[in-house]
Symmetry: C2
Subunit: 581 residues, 2 copies
């Protein structure tokens, strides 16, 4: 036993002892602000007497594909004492992807944002099996998955194996979408994996080292130091800001001879960067970038990327523009992975662009398969498709008209089943659902017929939006699905979902509902913009501190929290490291 085994025990344990709290209280101050769904309410419910009874039966096999936000969140909250859980992923760790832009410039180290999945797993009761392998094919007919270990070294034993499942949870994320632009796969960097961020870091240093080599013309030096980011979304903008800080806070001191030759450009096909954010944030970012001399080329579509040039079309003039570059980072769009595409063909979803699930995250047309996160989309049912059955179910006295009282009785189930209704009410600034039944002049009506009912709800479905491909959505979906799995047996007996309008009875579970808890756009120079719940917009230095505290609090383990905060402190004290390793 080492001298330090006491400390080690303290910090290894899942629960906090008081010295640990003491030591780390300063770090966790941000923990008070909830960013994604807190899992604490889930764990408590799981060990019911119902679950204990079924333990005597054969435990169902749950196979989870992927250890990203969705998969890890599912595994963390799942009560694995009632299932036989198996996990497959080509990465044996969970990565805190929102900090990837920080990794590209060494503000945070790659190792600080990853936690081995086995560490996350072993903290919970029950047995779970993880294998570092890629899923090659899902065979839905025989409920099997073919896997291949991605270790390409010279080790003995077959790399391929197959696993059977009772429930399959697909959470393998998306791949980069190049929109078939020529040269992108060959000549661009991406920002999806930890390795991508490490590669970008090395390439930035390469560009600087190459630019100072004797014998180059100033034009060549300028080309090597032109950094291009394609995509003005949150990731691209954050990377541009990080790179600007890295260059102007650290690299100019180390490479003073070329400091005036560096340029950064952001190419955006839309009219504004950060166009999924509030307009105020978008303008704030554009002004900040203008001050920082980061060129923003809006309304430009990339036609092709070659080794040294990037070709674009300016939408306004229709003209083609070519600019030389030292490095291009492609940060736009997500695409479906081949294994998911193949699975979609099997289950008759081949015509779709992305795997569709219902509101309970069950893959459509496929029992016992669930899909979460970026690899799938929730296909929200339109209220107009069910309008007649809703009317029939609500019209208890079969009078052919619906009274306000009859409507009130079904409205709660409607709102749960069709969340777009609530959004519609909110956006129309209606406080009471019965306001929907008012006539065109805004006057109360005693009752409406089917045509009036259709008219009242006709615009509701327009509120439907597909969920963004973010960590927040994936984490909430994972936690939601774990909750459903934990109370599966209980809810079969006592369903807690809304009533079924087409048939009798109720749904077992409430459908998944996304709660948007805000989003951040760090803009460099200790300035961050944020959209917070309640349409609240916050910008500037205080928001950067909010960002620090929330990102620290949301780390998956005390270890990564300690490391990330350590990295931030290190960068304040010593700057970023520019060693090319």
């Amino acid at each position: 036993m080492t001298n330090f085994s006491y400390f080690k025990r303290i910090f290894h344990g899942q629960h906090l002892s008081s010295p640990k709290l003491l030591a780390l209280c300063s770090i966790s101050s941000g923990g008070l602000i909830a960013y994604a769904d807190s899992p604490s309410d889930v764990v408590g419910e799981s060990k019911t007497s119902v679950n204990n009874q079924i333990e005597t039966k054969r435990r169902k096999r749950v196979l989870v594909l992927g250890t990203g936000w969705a998969g890890t969140s599912f595994l963390k909250d799942l009560d694995i004492s009632t299932y036989d859980v198996q996990v497959i992923s080509p990465r044996n760790y969970f990565a805190f992807t929102p900090l990837l832009p920080s990794v590209t410039c060494g503000t945070v180290d790659a190792r600080s944002i990853v936690e081995p999945i086995r560490n996350i797993i072993k903290k919970r009761d029950g047995e779970i099996k993880y294998w570092e392998a890629e899923c090659l094919k899902v065979d839905h007919e025989s409920k099997k998955v073919l896997c291949r270990s991605n270790i390409d070294s010279n080790l003995v034993g077959s790399n391929e194996f197959s696993l059977e499942y009772d429930y399959l949870v697909i959470a393998i994320g998306a791949q980069v979408n190049t929109f078939n632009t020529p040269g992108v796969l060959e000549h661009c960097h991406f920002l999806k994996e930890v390795e991508d961020a490490q590669r970008i870091r090395r390439t930035v240093i390469d560009c600087f080292e190459k630019a100072v080599i004797p014998g180059l013309t100033d034009e060549e030096r300028k080309t090597n130091l032109h950094f291009v980011i394609v995509g003005g979304g949150p990731t691209g903008v954050e990377f541009a800001a990080e790179l600007h800080d890295f260059v102007h806070e650290d690299l100019v001191n180390l490479y003073p001879s070329v400091k005036d030759l560096v340029s950064i450009s952001v190419i955006q096909s839309g009219d504004h960067i950060l166009n999924t954010f509030d307009e105020r944030i978008s303008s704030f970012a554009e002004e900040k970038f203008q001050r920082d001399a980061i060129q923003v080329l809006t309304g430009h579509r990339v036609l092709s990327v070659s080794e040294r040039m990037i070709d674009m079309k300016a939408k306004s003039t229709g003209q083609n523009v070519s600019i030389p570059h030292g490095m291009v980072v492609w940060s736009t769009g997500v695409g479906t992975r081949p294994v998911v595409k193949d699975f979609m063909e099997q289950i008759g979803q081949g015509y779709r662009r992305i795997l569709a699930t219902d509101e309970w995250l069950r893959v459509k047309g496929c029992d016992d398969v669930y899909a979460l996160g970026d690899c799938a989309t929730v296909d929200q049912r339109k209220i107009m498709e069910d309008i007649s059955t809703i009317f029939e179910a609500a019209d208890k006295d079969n009078s052919g008209t619906l009274t306000v009282e009859e409507f009130k009785e079904v409205i709660e189930d409607i709102i749960i089943r069709y969340p777009q209704v609530e959004l519609y009410l909110k956006n129309r600034h209606l406080f009471d659902v019965t306001d929907l039944l008012k006539d065109v002049n805004g006057k109360d009506r005693e009752e409406v017929d089917i045509e009036g009912f259709k008219l009242a709800l006709s615009n509701v479905d327009k509120q439907m939006k597909s969920l963004p491909a973010t960590a927040q959505v994936a984490a909430q979906q994972g936690a939601y699905l774990a909750k459903c799995f934990n109370k599966r047996e209980k809810c079969k007996i006592e369903p807690e979902g809304p009533r079924k309008f087409g048939s009798d009875g109720r749904h077992d579970f409430r459908p998944f509902q996304y709660r948007h808890l805000g989003q951040f756009a760090p803009l460099g120079g200790e300035q961050t913009a944020a959209e917070l719940p309640g349409d609240w917009v916050s910008m500037g230095r205080s928001t950067q501190w909010l960002w620090y505290s929330i990102y620290a609090s949301k780390q998956v383990s005390w270890r990564t929290r300690f490391l990330v905060v350590g990295d931030w402190s290190r960068r304040f004290m010593f700057g970023r490291d520019s060693s090319r390793i």
Copy 2:
């Protein structure tokens, strides 16, 4: 300016302000113990009035090849205001190589042991130019060096350039020596560069991930988990110990199903591991490894390495042995790099195995070229070669005999010029040099003739040993050479070296003299063995603490010191990270 700019300024500065001292005083406690030559006495001397006078002349161009221990130590201590300094190295950082074995298992992170060479350079006055490039060829005739940037990406501009020099300092280190063993280059890992350590770390995790894949036989799992280290020197032994700790402190908890299948073997051609150390340390290490179930195969010579097998010959029985392996780390011997080999051909040293310098680190047969560290060896002059001229010089009255008084007058110069004399006295437990002149019966003699003088010194040259290829030697050589460069002009006028016995006058400088300050052999489980100055041997846990404090104190910058100590703390608190990145 950020909120933290105050702290940043404090920590970026070269000199310590009191808050910095306060904040880091606990870290620097080990700084009291000197491990390598302290440079403080060098800096003070450099700015003499002599140097100021020559500043008006064209400054001589010094070209330094390499940023390892020797090159960095030279650059740190060189007064660059009097020279035009240029540096070439394929690595834009200095790596604290004694911690490489710790990097292989994640005890210390790779980034924590590297410091960008530009950071080290920019801290000092004057201008210095660094380029990330490899030296392809030294053209000694025209005093030019051909270089090529090692950036293989698609950046514009030629990668090749050449540089002229007045003085060339070769400090490019050595390469791995495979002794032409088949398969070593293809199938073995090495432990010379930071990238090597990172690759080993990933491979260890690969071996474990592969070993738990479904469908493998126990035999296959065992093979994948058999780690072989070739070479029982300090690096190999430390790596074996680190790996053992990593496996038994961290990995067995994450991969419990295969914990009994792991094995570690150390193959050593000699009869003992750590055979350059004191016997007590060697036995202590062997006993410790036996307790830890690390197999030590002494007296085995490796014949070949293939993808899955390693073939050896047991010296005692003469039989060939083949064992399957999951990973082999080759940690034995150093070889000459091709560019040095080519340079040796040019200057007539082609017949040698390793580049030879004189005692002033000047390359033999080649003015104005110096060689330091692992790439060269100091060819110490034998006293017997000069014995007649020494006798003549000492015999002032030309009497044909040497009196004790005459001998005493030259002895100081002899000891400086031929350091083996001092070693000889020490090993023979002689306190006074005049004891050398005693007759065979140990009685004092009044005078000796030339034959008697030859006899007295005949065994001295046997004390000569070539210096080991260690960081300590390289660092001392770098500091020594910088010192000589700093007082070059001054010493031309007032030479401070010993008298020349063959001719008139004195040498400009004292020759380089290595001072062995001890060496460590960490053996895992918080146990370290150390050889300290004065033939003092120390083993156990307290030595591990000495190791921690000395390694912390010897870091090249406050940044790396902070990071290394942080990494040690992290590992005590949270264990080592097993994410495969």
